[in-house]
Amino acid sequence: MEAVSVRVPLHSPYPQHPDTLEEACAENFRAMAATLCFALSRLPADGRPAVICMTAAQTHEYGRIFGRGTIWARHFPLLLVEPRKAIEALWAAEQALRSGAVAGVAIAVDDLTLTQTRRLEFAARHGGASAMTVLTRPGGLTAARRRWRIRPAPSAPNPFDARAPGSLRIAAELVRSRTEPPALFMLEQDDETHRLRLADRLAGHGLVEAGRTVAAA
């Protein structure tokens, strides 16, 4: 089990409602699936569909979205946009956000300029939607309201088989936010609803303090 070194104030709550633009950065290449899962789970569930933009090159690199594996997703339908170029992905994301037809867009990009993030933010505000940029390395200046750093965490114990992985867990570190202090949250897949929830909601605020979640596990 991994020791958690970040100490955070106990009463920093998990921001349930997504802001217009947030950034989720995968800690490494293997964290891409967890980051996409986190990004989709953060988009508002208001009955509108969600859009995932990945360029063809990224699909080649990380794999393509598999609909049968989205049991935790809260959005229907999932619109998958797979343009050839990154600039087209940005265009598609902006159009989707501005249209007001979707709840949000998760867009995987390699690099973003401040202007591009500003445009996405404006578009999201215009359409009443949320945008999650999924990065593979920490970006520079950004208009994102929150910056997350995502890595997969060892899964919960499987009650039926100690040698098998249990429900998925994601460690989401809030690196920067305009309104909250930095914090590390442990998210876990609920075994009934399949949605992501805070791992130890009953025990507190889902904050990992000196490995408390780990102890509970």
Binding site: N28, A33, E61, G67, R68, G100, P165
Partner: protein, 518 residues
């Protein structure tokens, strides 16, 4: 084996169609023959038919068997555009010749007579008007009437050789003796050739029912001029559609260049409608500015090639509070994205009844799915990855034989230790399907301590050639394992082939990475 088609040189040697290959080789030992490829010939004929659209809106394929294929062009009312019939024929000949296509062209009042003249008159270009029709084809052999083999043989028995021989005979007798067999009977074919019976042509591209055309006095060269014409064209088309209560599902903008060619732009609309503003926007997204006018457009046509009934809906008295003002529907968004990025780039996953993971889901253009509402993807209750590698990538695995989960594996050059694993989930091949898994293209990734991101532009080589041999047996049983490494990253691996079934399959079981879980 028989000869199906010959070139001039072969004909000069005295070879002919339907001659046995052995006979032909006896006459010309140096004969070069290649197997006939009807599918490719048909494709070429279709391409030629599309090209012939520059002569006439009605181009029909003539699929007469036995190497008699050709094209029918209905040029009624068209010839004056090319300076009369003779001028049209000569231009046609010249341009086909320039394209390297040997041709025989005949112009006649009926398709049957034109067919006969083109193939049996022996002239490269022939022309018959209605006054000379009867006499013109009288000297041609009976085969020129497109009769089937049985009728031809019967006619030979009766001593009937030329079409003219039939004119004097009583129709009732002919009709009784020459019945419709594989093809039409002799009397009907004769009537078609002489114009006494109608012969409908089925055009390759049916003319659009809804179409607005704008002709220009001077060729329009600049995009601004073309764009300025569009709203009026769209309004004209929308009025036609509205009259019939229909909406456009596919729009086509055709620019007719002054040099005789066309430029087209096609837009698909998921949910048919007749809102001209959206049409124009879609056309712009599709690349209106890339429409090349060449030396200018003489005319512009906007047509609705596919339409569907659309009922007018009364606008709501109150704005819908759930949707922001001016919000688009998902269908409109999908149309807009697909117009610019292409239909294949805007998709939704649709379940397919198959348990082979890569076949259990299909990407369908979002426009189709939205139109057929209710195709909800069914997330699997079994563990399935969020990201699927297509094609699967080879991994080196250390696992206990015969079917324990991996203990360690090396994927994209990084060694990972398995902390926990679940499996196997055994998937047998679907024996009723032919399986052919594509060969993975890459394995060349750079290993570096801190940063595991694969470097771009590394050039993927290596693994493909090594695995070429192993891929052959992809119709093998797969054992899937969900494994988690010590950092919590979850992978979906499978082993193809079973160790205890080695005697049936000569190949060593191999391991593949198929997906990544969140």
């Amino acid at each position: 084996m028989r000869l199906r088609a010959l070139n001039d040189a072969a004909r000069r040697l005295g070879l002919h169609r339907e001659q046995a290959d052995a006979d032909a080789r006896a006459i010309a030992p140096a004969l070069l023959a290649a197997p006939a490829e009807p599918a490719r010939e048909l494709k070429a004929l279709r391409a030629l038919a599309a090209w012939c659209g520059c002569w006439s809106p009605t181009v029909a394929l003539d699929l007469s068997p036995g190497g008699f294929e050709g094209l029918f062009l209905d040029i009624a009312g068209v010839d004056h555009l090319f300076g009369g019939e003779d001028a049209m024929l000569s231009v046609m000949r010249r341009r086909l010749k320039a394209a390297g296509i040997p041709c025989r062209i005949a112009l006649a009042p009926t398709p049957g007579a034109a067919w006969a003249m083109a193939r049996w008159s022996g002239k490269e270009t022939s022309r018959l008007d209605s006054a000379r029709l009867r006499d013109g084809i009288a000297s041609l052999p009976l085969a020129a009437l497109r009769l089937d083999e049985a009728n031809l043989r019967l006619a030979r028995l009766f001593g009937l050789r030329r079409i003219g021989d039939l004119y004097a005979l009583p129709r009732s007798g002919l009709a009784r003796r020459f019945r419709d067999g594989d093809g039409l009977g002799l009397v009907r074919r004769l009537d078609q050739a002489l114009g006494l019976a109608e012969e409908p042509l089925t055009p390759v591209r049916p003319a659009a029912d809804y179409r607005a055309v704008k002709l220009f006095a001077e060729p329009v060269l600049d995009m601004a001029g073309i764009e300025a014409q569009l709203p009026a064209l769209a309004a004209k088309l929308a009025a036609q559609l509205e009259r019939d209560g229909r909406g456009a599902a596919r729009l086509r903008l055709t620019g007719f260049r002054s040099i005789g060619t066309t430029a087209t732009l096609e837009v698909r609309i998921g949910t048919p409608h007749r809102q001209t503003k959206i049409w124009l926007r879609l056309l712009r997204e599709k690349g209106l500015d890339r429409l090349d006018p060449g030396f200018g457009f003489d005319a512009l046509a906007l047509s609705a090639d596919r339409t569907a009934p659309v009922a007018a809906v009364q606008p709501a008295l109150e704005p819908d509070s759930a949707r922001p003002a001016g919000a688009l529907s998902v269908a409109e968004l999908a149309d807009r994205l697909a117009a610019r990025l292409g239909e294949a780039a805007v998709t939704m996953p649709v379940p397919v009844p198959s348990w082979v993971p890569e076949r259990s889901e299909r990407r369908v253009p979002a426009q189709d799915v939205i139109a057929a509402a209710g195709l909800r993807p069914v997330p699997s209750s079994r563990p399935r990855p969020l990201l699927m590698l297509d094609p699967p990538e080879p991994v080196e695995v250390m696992a206990e034989l015969p079917d324990s989960p991996p203990a360690r594996f090396r994927w994209r050059r990084v060694l990972r230790h398995v902390a926990r694993a679940e499996g196997p989930e055994r998937l047998e091949p679907e024996w009723w399907q032919i399986q052919r898994r594509p060969v993975p293209e890459r394995e060349e990734f750079v290993e570096s301590g801190m940063d595991e991101f694969p470097l771009k532009n590394q050039g993927f080589q290596g693994a493909a050639s090594e695995n070429q041999g192993r891929i052959k047996g992809s119709d093998r049983t797969r054992d899937y394992y969900l494994v988690e490494d010590e950092n919590g990253a979850r992978y979906w691996l499978f082993r193809e082939g079973l160790y205890d079934r080695r005697e049936e399959k000569e190949l060593v079981p191999s391991w593949w990475m198929h997906g990544l879980f969140p």
